[in-house]
C-alpha cells in the first residue's frame, strides 16, 4: 500500500499543473471577456491574403 504515497504525489503534481495553467489563464486576461470569443470563432476567414490574424 506504500504505493499510495507515490500515487498521491503524482496526482497532486498533475493537479498543481492544472492549477498553474488556470492561474496563467486568469492573469493573461482570458476571463476578462467571456462573450466576444464565442462570436469571433464563427466568423469565416474569407480573404486568405489578409494578414495573419492568429498571430497575436
Amino acid at each position: 500500500m506504500t504505493i499510495i504515497y507515490l500515487l498521491i504525489g503524482i496526482s497532486l503534481t498533475v493537479a498543481a499543473l492544472f492549477l498553474s495553467s488556470f492561474v496563467w489563464a486568469v492573469r493573461s486576461g482570458q476571463y476578462e471577456d467571456d462573450y466576444t470569443p464565442s462570436v469571433r470563432i464563427l466568423f469565416d476567414e474569407e480573404t486568405p491574403s489578409a494578414p495573419d490574424r492568429e498571430k497575436r
Partner: protein
C-alpha cells in the same frame, strides 16, 4: 436643397445600412436603398474594401448605425496626434507599435464585432483590433509611421462607431482589472476538491484500514492544501472582520472569520494530536461557497458607467484664438482670458462671455431642457451648454473646474466613497446577534460539560464555534440581489450593485427633477395663440420653415401638417428669424423683436420658449413651446402615494408649471423652483439629516450633486449607453412609469432574503443541537455544510424568480 413634390411612397423602404424606415426619398446605390447619404457613404466604403459580409452576419437585421453625412470634419481630430495627448491616451507606445483602447457605445451586435476587428482592411496601418463586447471596448494596435491616431478616430466616426473621447479618458490610465476574485475562487475550488478526496476514508466505513495506515499522512497533505486557502482565498473575510472590529462594530464577516479560524485551529489540533482527521474539507468548502457568493455579487454591468462626472461629457480639446490664428489646445490648459471658438454642436467647456455670433445654447445634458436658449453678445454662457448653429467666439472667465456647473464636483460628497445603508447593515445586524447568541451557547456548553467531561467540553465548545459560521447566511443576500439585478436589467433598469436594490426597498422619500425627468427631453408640446390659422396659412409657414436649420423651426415644421408650398426671396437673419414670400404674402417667423410686431406682444406672458409668426402686414400669432410630461406620470405618482412615499420635485426652471405639478403630485408634495445644482444637493442633504431615506431621480449634470448625495440616485436616460451623470442606477426612459413597480419588487426581494435566512437558521439550529451534545463530527460537518449552502442558494434564486414571475417582470422588455 429643394425637393419638388414629395412622392407618397405606399410602402416605406428600409435603409440597407441601418434598417430604419426611409423618411424622405431614399438614395440608391446598386439597387439598394439608403435613408441618407451618410449611410450610403458607409456602404460604399465597405463595398470598396470588400467588407459587405457586415450586412449578412445577422439574419433579417441591418446592423448599421445611421451616420449623418458631413458629421466629421477632416481636421477635427488632429489634436489627437500631439505628443501630450498621445502620451495620455495610449496604453502602449514604441517606435513601431502604438496601442489604444477605445470605448464605443454604438457597438451592439456580432456584425459590429466583425467590422471592428477587420479595421486593418480599411486602414493599412492598423495591425490588429480586438473587441471586448461586454465592455463595448476595442483595443487597436497600429503602426505609428503608417497611420495616425486621428485617422483611426476619423475612420471609426465615418463607419458609425465613433469612440468616446472626453476629458475623463485623459485623466489617468484605467486601473488594472482585479483578477483577485477569479484566482481566489479557483484556488479554493482546487483545494476543496483535493482535500475532499483525501477525506474519503473518513466518509466511508470501508476506509477503516486505509485510515489507520495513512490517516496522519492524509492529514498533513490536507494542511498543505488548506494553507493557501487560509492565507490567500479567505483573506478578504479576515480583513473585513478586522476592519470592522477596529471601528468597534460587528459585521457579518466577524462570525464568519471566527468560525473559519476555529475550524482551522481545531483541525490543526486534531491532526497534530492524531485524534482525528480534522475539518479541513469543510473549511475549504466553506471558503469556496462563500467566494461563489462574492463572485456573484461582483457581476455587474461592465459596459455601463455609473461613476461619470462632468469630465465624461466635456471635450478633450478646444479651439483657441490667439493673435488671429486658431490653435487647438487641451481643455485642461484653458485659462480665464483666453478667447475660444465654438462651432456647431460643440460644447462650451468653461463659463465664458459671448463676444461674437448668435448663440443658441442647448443645455439638454445639463438641465434636461429640450429647447435651446438664445444668447446675445455680452451674456454669460455657462459651461456644459452645446452650441447649435453658427460658430461663435467667447472669452473664458472661469477655470474649467471652477465654473458654475463644474464647481459642484468640488463638494465633499464627491470625495468619499458612497456608503449604502443597504445589505451591509442588514446582514451585519444579523451577524451581530448571531455572534452574541453563538458565544452564549458556546459558553453554556462549556459550563454544562466541564464538571462532567473535560474532553467533551472542549469538543462541544469548538463545535459550536465551528457550526456558528454563518456561511449560508452570507450566501442568501448576494444570490437574491444579483438575481433581482438581472431581472431589473431585463426591464431596462440597471443597478450599480445589490446594495442599491436594498436601498431602493427601504427608501421613504422620492425626489424628482422636473425637466428631462418628469418631462420628455425629446418632445415638446406646442400651443398657438393669435389670429386663427387656415390650412393655407400653415402651408405658408411650413414653406418658410423648411429651409431653416434652427431647432425651433424644425420643431414647428414637424408640428404643422399642411402640404408645403413654394417660397421665394427666402432670407435668414441670424439670431432673429427667417422670412420669405409665399403666394405673394410676406411670412416672418422668429423672435419677438423680429416677427412679434403689433398685438402678439400682449399674448405672451411668462418666460416660456416662444416663436412669433407674422403673415402679411396685420396678421400674426405666437407658438409656445412647453414641456411634455411623460405618459403615465399621474398613475406613477398615484402608485407611489399608495406606497406611502413622500414626494418632492426640484426644478431649475421658473415656477410656470407649479399649478400643473401640484395637481399631479397632490397638495402635500414639496415643489421647489429656481434650484441651482448646489441647492438641489443641499435639499437632499437636509432631507437626510431629517432622517429620511431618499431616492433622487434626475437626468442632467445639474442633478449630479443631488444624485450623489441621495441614498440611491437614479438617472433617467433615453439611451442607456449614452451619457448619464454619476448615479447608482440607470433607468431607461421607456421604463420610467414602472418605477413604483420596481420599488415594490425590491421590497419583495428583501422578503426573499429574510425567507432564506430562516432556512439557514434551521440548519444552524440542527448543527448547534448536535454540537452541544458533542455529536458533531467531521462527517456530519461535511454533509451539513454543502447541503445548507446549496439549499440557501436554491431558495434565494427560486424565491426571487417566483416573485418576479408573479409580478410579470420576467418577460424581457423590448
Amino acid at each position: 436643397m429643394r425637393r419638388s413634390a414629395t412622392t407618397l411612397v405606399e410602402e416605406k423602404e428600409h435603409c440597407y445600412h441601418c434598417g430604419d424606415e426611409c423618411q424622405s426619398v431614399p438614395v440608391y446605390t446598386q439597387e439598394k436603398a439608403f435613408c441618407c447619404t451618410g449611410c450610403q457613404a458607409v456602404y460604399e466604403l465597405l463595398y470598396a474594401n470588400n467588407l459587405c459580409t457586415y450586412y449578412n452576419l445577422e439574419a433579417g437585421e441591418k446592423p448599421g448605425v445611421t451616420v449623418a453625412a458631413g458629421d466629421v470634419q477632416a481636421n477635427q481630430f488632429v489634436y489627437l496626434d500631439e505628443a501630450a495627448t498621445l502620451n495620455q491616451l495610449l496604453t502602449f507606445q514604441s517606435d513601431t507599435l502604438h496601442k489604444v483602447l477605445f470605448q464605443i457605445p454604438n457597438m451592439h451586435c456580432s456584425s459590429c464585432i466583425w467590422l471592428l476587428e477587420n479595421l486593418f482592411k480599411l486602414d493599412q496601418g492598423v495591425v490588429e483590433s480586438r473587441v471586448n463586447f461586454p465592455r463595448k471596448e476595442v483595443s487597436v494596435s497600429y503602426h505609428p509611421k503608417k497611420t495616425k491616431l486621428s485617422h483611426i478616430v476619423t475612420l471609426l466616426h465615418k463607419i458609425g462607431y465613433g469612440p468616446t473621447l472626453n476629458l475623463s479618458t485623459l485623466s489617468g490610465k484605467k486601473q488594472k482589472r482585479d483578477f483577485g476574485i477569479n484566482l481566489k475562487l479557483g484556488l479554493a475550488g482546487f483545494c476543496f476538491g483535493n482535500t475532499m478526496l483525501l477525506s474519503f476514508p473518513e466518509y466511508f466505513a470501508f476506509g477503516e484500514e486505509v485510515k489507520q495506515q495513512f490517516g496522519s499522512f492524509f492529514g498533513w497533505v490536507s494542511i498543505v492544501l488548506a494553507l493557501p486557502v487560509l492565507l490567500y482565498s479567505a483573506r478578504g473575510f479576515f480583513e473585513s472582520a478586522w476592519q470592522s472590529l477596529k471601528q468597534r462594530h460587528i459585521n457579518l464577516d466577524t462570525p464568519i472569520s471566527l468560525g473559519l479560524a476555529s475550524l482551522f485551529c481545531v483541525s490543526l489540533y486534531d491532526i497534530f494530536m492524531e485524534t482525528g482527521p480534522g475539518y479541513l474539507d469543510s473549511f475549504t468548502g466553506l471558503v469556496f461557497f462563500m467566494l461563489i457568493g462574492k463572485y456573484v455579487q461582483k457581476t455587474t454591468y461592465d459596459a455601463l458607467a455609473f461613476d461619470r462626472d462632468y469630465k465624461a461629457y466635456f471635450p478633450i480639446s478646444v479651439t483657441v484664438l490667439e493673435k488671429g490664428a486658431e490653435n487647438v489646445i487641451a481643455v485642461k490648459e484653458l485659462a480665464p482670458g483666453k478667447r475660444i471658438r465654438i462651432r456647431n454642436q460643440e460644447l462650451v467647456p468653461a463659463d465664458a462671455i459671448l463676444l461674437r455670433g448668435s448663440a443658441f445654447i442647448d443645455y439638454s445634458f445639463v438641465s434636461g431642457e429640450s429647447a435651446p436658449v438664445l444668447k446675445v453678445a455680452g451674456e454669460i454662457i455657462y459651461a456644459g451648454g452645446r452650441q447649435v448653429g453658427e460658430s461663435i467666439e467667447l472669452e473664458v472667465i472661469k477655470d474649467v473646474s471652477q465654473s458654475y456647473l463644474t464647481q459642484l464636483w468640488n463638494n465633499d460628497v464627491f470625495r468619499k466613497e458612497k456608503s449604502y445603508f443597504g445589505v451591509g447593515t442588514y446582514a451585519d445586524k444579523v451577524g451581530g446577534y448571531f455572534i452574541t447568541v453563538t458565544l452564549l451557547i458556546a459558553a453554556g456548553a462549556l459550563v454544562y460539560w466541564v464538571p462532567r467531561d473535560l474532553d467533551m467540553a472542549i469538543k462541544a465548545f469548538t463545535s459550536v464555534l465551528v457550526i456558528a459560521c454563518p456561511c449560508a447566511l452570507s450566501l442568501s443576500a448576494p444570490f437574491t440581489l444579483s438575481n433581482a439585478l438581472r431581472i431589473f436589467g431585463g426591464q431596462k433598469f440597471y443597478l450599480k450593485n445589490g446594495d442599491v436594490a436594498e436601498t431602493l426597498a427601504k427608501a421613504d422619500t422620492i425626489v424628482f427633477d422636473k425637466t428631462g425627468t418628469l418631462t420628455e427631453s425629446t418632445q415638446t408640446d406646442i400651443t398657438y395663440q393669435g389670429d386663427a390659422l387656415s390650412t393655407e396659412d400653415e402651408s405658408r409657414l411650413r414653406a418658410v420653415l423648411q429651409h431653416s436649420t434652427h431647432p425651433l423651426s424644425q420643431g414647428l415644421y414637424q408640428f404643422l401638417k399642411a402640404p408645403v408650398k413654394a417660397v421665394s426671396q427666402y432670407q435668414e437673419i441670424s439670431g432673429e428669424g427667417v422670412q420669405g414670400l409665399v403666394d405673394g404674402v410676406l411670412v416672418k417667423v422668429g423672435s419677438r423683436s423680429y416677427a412679434g410686431g403689433g398685438q402678439q406682444a400682449k399674448l405672451a406672458t411668462g418666460l416660456a420658449t416662444r416663436v412669433y409668426v407674422q403673415l402679411g402686414e396685420d396678421r400674426g400669432g405666437v407658438f409656445t413651446f412647453s414641456n411634455h410630461y411623460r405618459e403615465g406620470l399621474p398613475q406613477l405618482v398615484q402608485e407611489l402615494h399608495n406606497q406611502g412615499k413622500k414626494l418632492a420635485v426640484l426644478s431649475g426652471d421658473n415656477d410656470a408649471e407649479r399649478e400643473n405639478l401640484q395637481r399631479i403630485f397632490g397638495p402635500e408634495a414639496t415643489l421647489r423652483f429656481h434650484q441651482s445644482p448646489g441647492d438641489k444637493l443641499a435639499y437632499i442633504e437636509q432631507l437626510k439629516t431629517e432622517g429620511h431615506k431618499v431616492i433622487m431621480v434626475g437626468d442632467g449634470l445639474n442633478d449630479a450633486g443631488a444624485l450623489q448625495m441621495s441614498d440611491a440616485g437614479i438617472s433617467v436616460t433615453n439611451s442607456v449607453n449614452g451619457f448619464s451623470p454619476g448615479c447608482d442606477a440607470i433607468l431607461d426612459a421607456g421604463s420610467f412609469t414602472q418605477l413604483a413597480h420596481f420599488l415594490r419588487f425590491s421590497r419583495r426581494a428583501l422578503h426573499v432574503i429574510l425567507g432564506s435566512f430562516m432556512v439557514s437558521f434551521v440548519y444552524n439550529i440542527i448543527g448547534l443541537s448536535m454540537a452541544v451534545t458533542g455529536l458533531f463530527t467531521p462527517v456530519v460537518s461535511a454533509i451539513l455544510m454543502p447541503i445548507s449552502s446549496l439549499s440557501v442558494i436554491l431558495c434565494s434564486v427560486l424565491g426571487v424568480r417566483y416573485v418576479a414571475l408573479r409580478m410579470g417582470l420576467l418577460q424581457p422588455k423590448k
